[in-house]
Amino acid sequence: MSVPVQSSEDPRRVPLLETRGLTKHYGLTFAVEEVDLRLFAGSVHALVGENGAGKSTLIKMLTGLVRPTRGEIRYRERCVELRSPHQAMADGIVAVHQELSLVETMSVAENIWLGHEPRTRLGRINFGELVKRSNALIGEVGLEVDPSRPVGRLALAEKQLVELLKALSWKPQVLVLDEATSSLGDVEVGLLKRTIGKLKDAGCAIVFVSHRMLEIFQICDYCSIMKDGRIVHEDEVARLDERLVVAKMTGRQGQHQLFPDRAGPGRRRGRLLAVRNLHTRSGLHDISFEVRSGEILGLGGLQGHGQVEVLECLYGLRHPTAGSISSGDVPLRLRRPTDAIKAGIVFVPEDRKIQGLFVDRTVEENIVACSHPMVSFLGFLQPSRVREVTQQLISEMAIKVERVSALLRSLSGGNQQKVALGRWLSSRCRVFVLVEPTRGIDINTKVEIYRLLRRLADSGMGVVLTTNENLELVRLCDRVIVLFEKRVVAEFQGDEITEHNIVAASFGQAQGRAS
């Protein structure tokens, strides 16, 4: 399907990079379907879409990491086959990803020029020239960093900019910025914008993938919206507005259909956990709050300000140096997850592939991984009980799986997350702790998970979660606590929970009661 680009430019202008009917499928799943994308020199093209819409697969094809199943890519008016990321980079198509891939033990300069270092006449690497050229690049971007410093010693935002420098060193004609601003602070974002401006002037085509509407409207010229593997809308940014973009991304007109209604204020909310004056070696300072039954509690604030650490304390993964966590009036000794589970607290971690699930084991094994006592007798597993519990969960949560003996990694992200969550359902838990519960999953599964969390809370459990998406805090949670620099700075209830209040508190501003 080809969506005509309503451009005020000359329609005969030739794109620098173009895809025609680009398609990628894995088995029966279509990740990207019939995408026609046109990138012009000297412009910034936004690519937006929900997680699972196909953005990353499209990027992977553009940068040579994945081979398309069908369709063609035309670069500089010629049809090209990108066989490896290195080949793409050498040709001038470079990407900066959100996940860092730097060699932490090497210096900034060595990382920037990795794979294409300047050589001396003897064939060795010219380290002096390496530092000189790095300084030139660093100066152009406006960063302040010592090129001989080992990357491991840099702050996260600085490392992200080193990734940018790395991309720039390959003299890109097409630069893909894939969520590259997520770890950047205001200063660094400013430097990035300046660099983007310079690249535009030099005739580079830039692809900007981001969730941040504000940046998209500030930086980009065109915008393509993806949903379910296709481009569903494409236009100049000037002709778009946020509501339209979100509507096209989610396919829903209103946002409130995404979320179930919050619990009414009148319900009885017993106290399940009392956290008092928690301090940790990592900097948490005097954290106090309560977890109540029937309630979804959200921890908000900027990323990295202590939210995950607080939740880790609840599960025994982190040991506070002072303070207490009590159930009823009894202080709990949470030395390791087993203690937390015994106290009725369960945990769904951030990274399901590494922390949450056993991707190389079967779906069945994963589903019962946290309910062994329930499917065993005197220490021996009962295969019939295992099958029972597995089938029950699969139908309850509508998990799409061919065979229960398939490896977990064969499931989609959304279904994997359902397993990560659902495996705790058969245990007798009272507090459900989740870190970024809807990260990297498609919109439909998100809705199902929101409804599940609401049901859990309504049945008397206490749900505590932290999320990057303020929308989830606003629409899903009954109460929101905001952390700033590892301290609790605000608590909002009911109608007080607004995006404005949360964002203000996230930046440390005094708790003001706005409508």
């Binding site: 997850p337 945990f347 991707v359 190389d360 021996f380 597993l381 490896l407």
Partner: protein, 329 residues
């Protein structure tokens, strides 16, 4: 990043499962059958049932040591001290009975106590101090070797335990002797543990993803202690049965079992990386290895040559397993 997983750090464990599944563990049995047939047909005296039984009995010692090794490897580790433990157990029995008035049973108890201590040491280093298993067990094996040397003062002794030795050697139950009976008991225990119990399942899961095991509420430290103590105890058992079989101990008696146990596990199709495997395969691996050794001895190949051939076979089989289960990416 999914890219990293498919491109460079692709999980070898997923390779181990693709295409072959449980059939993988039937391959070593097939190999054993084929090899045995070939040799039985070409070498006179080889194809007889008594000789076959003799070979199976000999595999028993290796099989018992390899049982512990299988569990350790599935849990994600490796134990390079099993051979030393076999020696220490044997030497403890002979020296204790020779130098003191203690009888057989207290000596056995002492040997098992030593095994538990070694398992605790390994478990502490690996589980608590996070020392890589290879290095930790290498170090503890040196210490154990040294202790064995100290106990014997260089010259081990003979021992006579008539009733035990008789049980070990004579076919008493359905025509099988004590060695085989012990191996069967060990096999049943290990197979039940790995295939049927919750604990065994957790061992697999911990080997597959130790972080996720922690988050799921398993106790990784206890598991670590368990598997290494398990391996040491089984090795000690093998050592005790071994000295009953031969009548004496010597300082190198456990050496062959060290690399042999790893070889049997790898030949049996268990992945060296952990998280997946089966003792069924190891049993076949032990049989296969013993067959190879006896064939080589038959052809008067020296000890060195035997090592070389065994090493080569391991390499070839590992290569075959690796090539045969590549992911399609």
């Amino acid at each position: 990043m999914a890219i990293a997983e498919t491109a460079v750090t692709e999980s070898a464990r997923s390779r181990a499962w693709s295409l072959q599944g449980n059939l993988r563990y039937a391959i070593p049995y097939l190999l054993f059958a084929v090899c045995w047939f070939v040799v039985a047909v070409s070498v006179p005296g080889f194809g007889t049932i008594p000789h076959f039984m003799y070979m199976v009995v000999f595999s028993g010692f290796l099989g018992m040591v390899a049982a512990g090794q299988t569990v350790v490897i599935i849990s994600g580790g490796i134990d390079l001290s099993v051979g030393a433990m076999v020696t220490l157990a044997g030497v403890t029995i002979t020296q204790t009975m020779y130098a003191t008035r203690f009888g057989f049973v207290p000596a056995v108890a002492l040997a098992f106590v030593a095994a538990v201590l070694l398992g605790l040491l390994n478990g502490a280093g690996i589980g608590l101090l996070r020392i890589p298993p290879l290095v930790m067990t290498l170090a503890s094996s040196t210490i154990i070797h040294g202790i064995a040397l100290l106990i014997t003062n260089g010259t081990p002794h003979e021992v006579r335990i008539p009733s035990f030795q008789e049980w070990v050697v004579k076919p008493s139950l359905f025509g099988i002797n004590g060695v085989l009976q012990s191996w069967i008991v060990v096999s049943v225990i290990v197979l039940l543990l790995l295939e049927r119990t919750v604990y065994g399942k957790r061992i697999f899961l911990s080997g597959s993803n130790p972080t996720a095991a922690l988050y799921a509420g398993y106790n990784p430290r206890r598991l670590t202690f368990f598997v290494y103590i398990f391996a040491s105890v089984l090795s000690a058992g093998a050592g005790i049965v071994s000295i009953a079989f031969t009548g004496n101990s010597y300082l190198g008696m456990g050496d062959a079992y060290q690399l042999g146990s790893i070889a049997a596990v790898v030949l049996g199709g268990t992945s060296i990386l952990g998280g997946t495997g089966s003792y069924w395969g190891t049993i076949a691996g032990a049989l296969l290895l013993t067959l190879i050794t006896s064939v080589l001895t038959l052809f008067r190949v020296s000890g060195g040559g035997q090592n070389a051939v065994e090493g080569a076979i391991i390499l070839v089989l590992m290569a075959m397993y690796a090539v045969g289960t590549r992911t399609r990416d």
